[in-house]
Symmetry: C2
Subunit: 200 residues, 2 copies
DNA sequence: TGTACATCAGTGAACGCGCGTTCACTGATGTAC
DNA sequence: TGTACATCAGTGAACGCGCGTTCACTGATGTAC
């Protein structure tokens, strides 16, 4: 338990990273400061040496969660992360069982979709920027990010991805959950996967 | 403030309906029993004459929320509700601004998608049944609910609807929010709207 | 139809608990000389 | 290089508050005679 400046930065980062994970798993409301600090190996009193308030933490952790899960990477396997992403590889990773079962390490746009609708405007703004960036990335994978038809396709892809991962996580029937993952994955790769053969 | 059996039933229904609305607006965690009873015109102590516990309320209200928002109707305008639903009319209602802006009166599958993933198995089971029913309804609108290709299309439609309404609510940029609504609406009606010209 | 009585929906004070936040304190860190 | 001192990350008790839940009580309802 050091007291140096480097120790503080390290502790701060650890707290934020844990929160970024827990928020994606449990939503923005359920994580208590005592639990968080305990998980970080600290006591709850020190929290305010790092953050102005709980809401300050939410914003910082949300920023980190959104950052470490930029869509083209979220859910992709470690192996796939070294390679050049394609729409196929992104969709395959996003709608994988491992991504479904590890929301804390996955895409915050998908994991927090209902929560952000009820959150403050600062959180919504952060989220919105990430969605815009994701639309750009996906549009670039499909074709030309400046082409409005490709942007439209990207909107459809993002909506289908977010809806499918959410439904797959919500549903208690394993067969149905897997079915949602596979069906939407196959549909998106078939419809948008190949730049030259897009049917939309 | 009557004390008759009819009064009790009426009060019970009122409490559950208010909860069903508030849960869709604010999620399953934020509604307090005191607030709920107050909104129903009662005092908090009487709550346990109606429910075993808060979780009992959650389950009853979830059941009602899921029931009064079976997908083919959720979000459809009052005018449209009298007519025979088509995929077009359902999609149009679901991805309308009025549905986006009134989650408390809309589809619980969309409004609670993140929340149910973190809820208990009873809640997940109720939700899952509704999703299955919605898949059947949508598959019937597209073609044959027993045909696996039409079922696959229904899965895509439901995922896109849930993702689009969630994103449209989460995003703070009005232009983007409207764009998501319109783009996904146009895509779904163009791709699945006409039974004879489906391209998937 | 009228009376006596059991039931029970609704009331509001009270409970223990966990929450976010504050604060006086400790002791390692980093700096000035 | 060694010493004195200011800083400040981390500690843990304490705060007020709102939560879900319990309970003794009230008085209208519904029933038995």
């Amino acid at each position: 338990m050091g007291h140096s400046q480097a120790d503080k930065r390290e502790g701060h980062d650890r707290i934020v990273r844990i929160a970024a994970k827990r928020f994606r798993e449990d939503g923005l409301d359920r994580l208590s400061i005592a639990d968080l600090m305990n998980e970080a190996g600290l006591t709850h009193g020190g929290f305010y040496k790092h953050f102005d308030s709980r809401n300050d933490l939410v914003l910082q952790a949300l920023r980190v969660a959104l950052h470490e899960s930029s869509t083209p990477d979220a859910g992709r396997s470690r192996k796939a992360k070294g390679t050049v992403p394609t729409l196929q590889s992104v969709v395959k990773g996003y709608l994988s069982k491992s991504h479904r079962d590890s929301p804390g390490a996955g895409c915050a746009v998908g994991a927090l979709i209902s929560d952000i609708g009820r959150a403050g405007s600062d959180a919504k703004d952060l989220y919105t920027k990430r969605v815009q960036q994701n639309l750009d990335s996906v549009a670039a994978l499909i074709g030309d990010p400046d082409d409005s038809a490709d942007r439209a396709k990207a909107i459809v892809v993002l909506s289908a991805l977010a809806g499918a991962i959410g439904l797959a996580r919500a549903v208690s029937d394993d067969r149905l959950s897997n079915d949602i993952l596979c069906t939407v994955r196959d549909f998106l790769t078939a419809s948008f996967g190949d730049k030259s053969v897009s049917r939309f």
